[in-house]
Structures are given as structure tokens and as C-alpha cells.
């Protein structure tokens, strides 16, 4: 007798019991069969060892339920026996992560999970390029060899990618390219599908970062050291770009809330950009803001260099430098602004007027201030 037949008959002879009780008993015997099979007994022998279903039913009805069996004659009918297979639906198999190797030796990592909510990129002496994906998956294209250290982990929707230079000489792929030239710095590419709308954090060093055409992000925190940052045609809720000793360029960027741009000893250039607030800080180098429109505040702080604004719009414009000129145009009516301007070593064309609801503050030393107002077209 096979297993199905056994349960069909057992349940038939237990028909005096509520169906649920019958299933309980059948489950007990089904466990016995499964465990016997795992113990090395064949299914046939395991079923046979249990005995006759009618006798089992009679014994159980009498001894466990105190029922006088009225079993009748078994007529084969189709009764589904209870399944003892664990519910699979709840435990979806984890989607597979994919890694391809391209002919040139570079690799493409594609996380299988669809619920990634944060991407952390950590690079040392590799450049990073963040651009749109051609399909609906996240891809990371990278290169590694024995002079590099790679770590990729994925946990609770957080994807960590780390690729660092372990060469100690600053040329992680020396063997791969044969040269020592810095321009051989390889570019790691992070491709994001249009639907990816969560967070990207970078913590890099010696890694120039370029972000282009990413339009649906919640939070971009783009941090590197000793390398430049360029952000082009990108939209985010919050965007921050931080580096040292190299310039930051932000062009055609829409930020719903705060745009923060910080560097040192290098210039900041923000063009055709909208945000709720923009804050730019550097030292020893110039800040240029052109076509920057904010709902709230624009702040530009530097030292030893000029600040130039071209057709900026903002309710509070705060420009401070030392040793440099502050010049440019604000779109709006001068009468709407209360103005504070101070140039200790130069001339200011601005009046100090405390009336307007909007504020303009321009403070420098040595060089002059020349800001004009222009009506919106």
C-alpha cells in the first residue's frame, strides 16, 4: 500500500471524528512515515509497519475518543490527505546576487534583492561614477586584482560596497594597466534604475566622484577626500557634497530641501540649481553661484577669494569672504531686501537698509562689493 492509499483509508475509517481530528491523527502518522524514511526505511516498508488503517482507526477511536467504531465498508473515495509540507509562500527564496565578468576583466555586481534602501560606497584611490541604469536593476561595475580589497555585503536592504587600494603605493591596478600613471585611476560605476528612490552614501578617499542623470533619490551624501566632485542633472531631496583640496561643481541640480557643498582650498561652482537652501563653504578659493534659485537661504562662505553670484534668487542671501570681491546680480526688487553690507578695505555699492522682508548680507575685507538687482523676466 502506498502512502496516499493509506491516508485515504485511514481518514475514511476515522469519519466519525470531526475532520480536524482526523487530520491530526493523519499528521501524526505522516510524521512517522517521513521520519522512518529519513531513518533509511523505504516508504513501502514504513507504511506497512504502521499496520492496517482500519485496525489503527478502530484502536484510536476506542482508546483515544471512547467511540464505538462504526467503520462500515471502505469504498475507495478521493479524500485529500493533509499536506505536511511547510508553507513555502512565507519563506521566499532570497533573490540571487549576480556577478558577471566582462571580457576586459572588469566585473559587474547586480544585487538580486529588490528592497535596497541604502547604498554605501567606500572607495580608496578609485574614481566613482554614478549614472542611470539601462535596466531596472542596480549594477556596480568594478575592477579588482591582487592589489585591491573588495567587500560586498547586503543586509536588510543595505548594500555595502567597498573597494580599496591595498597596494600602499597609490596605484591599485598597476599590474592591470602596466603603468604607474595617475590617469590610470580606474572608474567604478554605480548604475541606478530610475525607480531607485532611496539613499546613497559615499565615504571615499582619493576618489573623484561624478553623479549624472540621477533624478529620483532621497538622500545623496557624497563624501570624499582629496578629489573632485561633479554633480550634473540630478534630483534629490537632500544632497550633500563634501571633499577637501579639490573643486566641486554642481550643475542643473534640483534639491527639494538642503544642498550642502563643502570643500577646502578649492573652488565651488553651482549652476542652474534649485533647492530650499544652499550652503557652500570653502577656503582659499572662489565660489560662483549662477542661476541658483532657493526658497529659503543661500549661504556662501570662503576666505582669500571672491564670491560671484549671477542671477540668484533667495529670501536670505548670505555672502561672506575675506580678501575677495563680492559681485553679481540678484533677481528681485532691492526694496524687498534688508541689506547688510560691509567691506572693510573696499567700496560697497549696496546701501544698508533694514526694511525689507528678505535679507541680503555681503561681508568682505579688502576688496569691494558690487551687487545689482534685476527684475525677474
Amino acid at each position: 500500500m502506498n502512502r496516499d492509499k493509506f491516508f485515504e483509508m485511514l481518514l475514511f475509517y476515522l469519519k466519525q471524528l470531526p475532520q480536524e481530528e482526523g487530520f491530526k491523527i493523519a499528521t501524526f502518522f505522516s510524521d512517522m512515515i517521513e521520519d522512518s524514511i529519513e531513518d533509511g526505511i523505504s516508504e513501502h516498508d514504513a507504511v506497512k509497519a504502521l499496520g492496517n488503517p482500519e485496525e489503527i482507526a478502530v484502536y484510536i477511536l476506542q482508546n483515544a475518543y471512547g467511540i464505538t467504531p462504526d467503520v462500515g465498508v471502505y469504498v475507495p473515495v478521493q479524500i485529500t490527505h493533509p499536506t505536511t509540507v511547510a508553507p513555502k509562500a512565507d519563506i521566499a527564496p532570497p533573490p540571487e546576487n549576480k556577478e558577471e565578468i566582462l571580457p576586459d576583466g572588469s566585473k559587474i555586481y547586480t544585487p538580486g534583492a529588490d528592497n535596497i534602501s541604502q547604498i554605501n560606497i567606500s572607495l580608496k584611490n578609485f574614481d566613482l561614477d554614478i549614472s542611470p541604469s539601462e535596466d531596472d536593476k542596480i549594477h556596480i561595475k568594478y575592477i579588482e586584482n591582487e592589489r585591491t580589497a573588495t567587500a560586498i555585503t547586503e543586509n536588510d536592504g543595505i548594500l555595502d560596497f567597498s573597494l580599496t587600494d591595498a597596494s600602499n603605493d597609490g596605484f591599485p591596478l598597476k599590474g592591470l594597466f602596466g603603468g604607474k600613471k595617475k590617469d590610470a585611476t580606474p572608474i567604478i560605476v554605480l548604475q541606478l534604475p530610475a525607480k531607485y528612490n532611496r539613499n546613497i552614501y559615499t565615504a571615499c578617499e582619493g576618489c573623484a566622484i561624478k553623479i549624472q542623470g540621477i533624478t529620483n533619490i532621497n538622500h545623496i551624501d557624497c563624501t570624499t577626500k582629496n578629489a573632485s566632485i561633479r554633480i550634473i542633472d540630478t534630483n534629490a531631496v537632500i544632497l550633500s557634497a563634501k571633499t577637501t583640496n579639490h573643486r566641486i561643481t554642481v550643475t542643473k541640480v534640483n534639491v527639494e530641501k538642503d544642498l550642502t557643498v563643502n570643500t577646502s582650498n578649492a573652488s565651488i561652482d553651482v549652476n542652474k540649481t534649485k533647492a530650499e537652501s544652499v550652503s557652500c563653504k570653502t577656503s582659499g578659493s572662489e565660489i560662483t553661484l549662477a542661476g541658483v534659485e532657493v526658497k529659503n537661504m543661500i549661504q556662501a562662505l570662503t576666505s582669500g577669494a571672491y564670491i560671484e553670484i549671477k542671477e540668484v534668487i533667495g529670501n536670505y542671501i548670505d555672502l561672506r569672504t575675506s580678501g575677495g570681491k563680492i559681485s553679481g546680480t540678484v533677481i528681485g526688487n532691492i526694496n524687498d531686501y534688508s541689506i547688510t553690507s560691509k567691506s572693510t578695505g573696499g567700496k560697497s555699492n549696496l546701501p544698508n537698509i533694514p526694511f525689507g522682508v528678505k535679507r541680503l548680507s555681503a561681508i568682505t575685507s579688502k576688496e569691494g562689493i558690487n551687487i545689482t538687482f534685476k527684475d525677474a523676466n
Partner: protein
């Protein structure tokens, strides 16, 4: 509590097995067979059901090898029951040992 018959002894043996975690039907059956040739699946089912209804053991299902397997565990009440049995049987066991020893010991001083 009276140890009236072998059935009750079987109960105690099964309950004391359940002190170990992860006991399932087939394991219990194999273990009980070591001392009782009378037991089979149907008998075991009835015993387990009775002990469950008496609150001596608890049944749970959990996944094992892609299926659900029933596991049996001892409840506090079951534990108390087993302890009470052992306590009671200290005396009986002493008597038993005395009887066995007496039968074997040929040289009683006063004989």
C-alpha cells in the same frame, strides 16, 4: 498516585524522555520500544493525546527538512508529575532492592 500498571509506567517514561528538547513521535516510539515491545504508533498516539489533554505535555509544530514536524515537550505540570513519581518510588525502590538483595543473600546472620 498509584503505579497500577505498566501503562502508567510508560507514561512516566515518555514524560521523562520529553525533558530533552526536540522530541518527535518517531524518536519517542523508538526510545519506548527499548523497554516495551507492546508499543506501536496507534498506542503512542493515544498516550500522547491523553497526556496532552492532561496538561502534562505540549505539542508544537516547527519546520524540519521543508515540512512541519510535531514536537512534544514537557510542561511544568508534567515535570511535577515525574518528580512526584520519583519521590514516591524512592521507598518502593528501597523495598525492591531489599527484596532482591534478600533473595540473593544466602547468609543472613539469623538464619
Amino acid at each position: 498516585m498509584d503505579i497500577e500498571n505498566k501503562n502508567q509506567l510508560t507514561d512516566i517514561c515518555i514524560l521523562s524522555l520529553l525533558k530533552k528538547e526536540g522530541c518527535y513521535g518517531y524518536y519517542i516510539l523508538k526510545s519506548v520500544r527499548e523497554f516495551s515491545g507492546d508499543i506501536n504508533e496507534s498506542v503512542l498516539y493515544c498516550i500522547l493525546k491523553r497526556l496532552e489533554e492532561a496538561g502534562m505535555l505540549a505539542v508544537s509544530s516547527s519546520e524540519y527538512n521543508a515540512r512541519l514536524r510535531k514536537y512534544y515537550s514537557l510542561t511544568d505540570q508534567g515535570e511535577t508529575y515525574v518528580s512526584a513519581f520519583l519521590e514516591k518510588w524512592k521507598d518502593i525502590s528501597a523495598a525492591y532492592n531489599f527484596i532482591v538483595q534478600d533473595r540473593n543473600e544466602k547468609k543472613r546472620r539469623w538464619l
